[in-house]
């Protein structure tokens, strides 16, 4: 494939992969935890970017797939002792399937209506899982610690989950790039710019959008499965947390909407910033306010996000910085 001969994507993958190796090399568990969370956010932001940045559909409730994937996989691991990576993939596939069926009607909505519908879907699932006793209802599900024995103990399981998350992040970024550089991605961007015109140009928007939604549901779902596997417990509140979804949108905007690197940069910057504000003794009380003010400044003055801004300022980089 010609797309993969682009040096750009390899540079990104090497940078992300290299950074992911740091905690292993320095043998720092807390760095690994930080990276685990950060990679998860990169995945979340990148997959939202696929539906939002490329296709122009603002999915507010994308976190629903994180929760669904997490729940499906957790159920398989707990009840049927399915190996965690397999369970995660099944969780991802299940969430994609659900996305497919949800997408068919919901993607007919445009703009604000679509955004509101995704919020409604997330909330409906959250309250449904609160009542769904097979998956533990309000109490959620938790592992007995012995589950981790199959992976060489809880400590080792954390390590394995981390490796899986690294791979998933690389695959997500790769997919995001391949989509952007493909004919499929070109079609998506045509839909984003002008859906009616794109139809006249021969694009079947409904088909492309549903497919995109399905793909973009897969990655957060697998990430959710890994996250809750490492967590050892899953509950409806943390699984379908609308706020996290909105934060992921913020990351996409921060980094640059519609670019491959944007969500990565956005997730890293946002997470570092919040992490810093929370752990810094003098700022922690005001962290929400400070993060809010910074975000507002960026939204008002750097509308295109960090990467978008660089691309505008240095047109020479346009070809290389996707």
């Amino acid at each position: 494939m010609k797309t993969l001969s682009s040096p750009f994507i390899w540079i990104i993958l090497v940078v992300v992969g290299g950074a992911s190796l740091l905690p292993i090399l320095t043998n720092s568990v807390s760095l690994r935890e930080d990276m685990f969370l950060m990679l998860m956010l990169v995945i979340l932001a990148s997959s939202i970017n696929i539906i939002m940045g490329y296709t122009g559909y603002v999915s507010f409730g994308h976190i629903v797939f994180f929760g669904l994937g997490g729940y499906l996989a957790f159920f398989l691991m707990k009840e049927f002792q399915v190996q965690f990576m397999l369970a995660a993939l099944v969780g991802g596939a299940g969430a994609s399937l659900i996305a497919f069926f949800i997408g068919i009607p919901v993607l007919r909505l445009r703009g604000a209506y679509f955004a509101l519908a995704t919020i409604g879907i997330n909330e409906a699932f959250r309250s449904f899982f609160t009542n769904f006793d097979l998956f533990g209802g309000a109490v959620g599900m938790f592992f007995n610690f012995s589950v981790y024995d199959a992976y060489g103990g809880a400590k080792n399981a954390g390590q394995l989950a981390y490796y899986a998350m690294v791979v998933l992040a690389l695959v997500t970024i790769g997919t995001s790039f391949v989509i952007k550089k493909s004919k499929f991605g070109l079609g998506l961007m045509a839909i984003r710019e002008d859906q009616d015109a794109s139809m006249v140009l021969g694009i079947d928007p409904a088909r492309l959008k549903v497919l995109t939604y399905t793909i973009s549901a897969f990655f957060p779902a697998v990430a959710g499965a890994l996250f809750f596997f490492k967590n050892g417990l899953i509950e409806p509140g943390p699984a379908f947390e609308l706020h996290r979804s909105i934060e992921a949108l913020v990351m996409v905007m921060l980094g640059g909407y519609g670019t491959v690197t944007g969500p990565i940069v956005g997730a890293v910057v946002y997470e570092r910033l919040r992490g810093f504000l929370i752990t810094d003794p003098t700022l922690s009380n005001a962290h929400l306010v400070i993060a809010g003010v910074l975000l507002l400044l960026i939204v008002l003055f750097v509308t295109a996000g960090v990467i978008g801004w660089v691309r505008q300022r240095v047109p020479a980089l346009r070809r290389y910085l996707e």
Partner: protein, 285 residues
């Protein structure tokens, strides 16, 4: 199931519905005039609650305090508009969403610093009227009166005054309104102010009914979305009816299904309405 409980709940739900309607009206007005989904709506509601709380702690009667809340709300809204929204008013939807979301973060953060997230309540007692299993709560009764009064005031303002007509003109077609010599920035700011004051009044009323925290806004904001969609985005009357419907729906379904299923039901209805009646139940088209 028992018929008295059903009637009692319907009355409770109907009365609460008016307050919900008022709450959603602010959101829908802002959307109607400037196509902005205001994610700062929740914190505005919460600000109304805490404004009333502070005033009642200062010894001001909560209902009297609502008058001050009106001014406070208008001012807050106008300031927020010029700080956060004005610059991006013509930018794509997402930008205004994020701008108002950052307002949300700032306000919630500031309110948390000032008030902490501990639950608060007003110690307010009004007589309630009781016959059989049916009780009409005094606080709710007053809340309905206030909600209706505010709605009437809003409509007289929008339809009877010059400024109100300008707001409607800008809502219809901003470009044309500008050609007619209407200063649209000012009108937009004013509309944002009115939307905010509606949210804050409803917050003040809710504070007289329930206990609340700085974080109460989140759930109420989502509920406002549901109501607004039910009534048709951008349609204030629709929002009032939407609020009443949600109030009734919640209270009546409580009698028939386990209460914890009520939100499931509510959100499924919400998505279905978006899919099949995107202009709301009363959508003209």
């Amino acid at each position: 199931m028992n018929i008295e409980a059903l009637i009692a709940s319907s009355i409770d739900g109907l009365m609460l519905g008016f307050v919900f309607g008022l709450m959603a009206m602010g959101l829908t007005l802002i959307f109607g005039v400037m196509k902005v989904i205001n994610l700062g709506h929740g914190p505005f509601i919460v600000m109304g609650m805490f404004a009333i709380l502070v005033m009642s702690q200062l010894g001001i009667n909560p209902y009297l305090g609502l008058v001050i809340v009106v001014l406070l709300g208008l001012l807050t809204g106008i300031v927020v508009y010029f700080v956060a929204v004005h610059r991006v008013i013509n930018a794509p939807e997402l930008t205004t969403l994020l701008a108002t979301f950052s307002v949300n973060m700032i306000l919630i953060g500031a309110l948390t610093i000032i008030f902490s997230t501990s639950p608060r309540g007003l110690d307010l007692e009004l007589p309630s009227f009781r016959t059989g299993a049916i009780t009409v709560l005094g606080t709710r009764f007053v809340a309905v009166l206030v909600a209706v009064g505010v709605t009437i005031a809003l409509y007289s303002f929008l339809y009877r005054t010059r400024t109100g007509k300008s707001i409607r003109a800008v809502a219809n077609n901003r470009g044309a309104a500008e050609l007619m010599g209407i200063n649209s920035s000012w009108i937009l700011a004013l509309s944002f102010g009115i939307g905010t004051l509606l949210a804050m009044i409803s917050g003040g009323l809710l504070a007289t009914l329930f206990s609340f925290t700085v974080l109460s806004g989140g759930g109420l904001e989502v509920k406002s979305f549901v109501i607004v969609v039910l009534g048709g985005l951008g349609n204030p009357t629709g929002a009032l009816f939407g609020g009443i419907i949600i109030g009734l729906l919640e209270s009546i379904t409580t009698i028939f299904i386990p209460v914890s299923w009520v939100p499931v039901f509510e959100f499924v209805v919400f998505v279905l309405i978006l899919l099949f009646r995107p202009n709301g139940l009363f959508g003209a088209r």
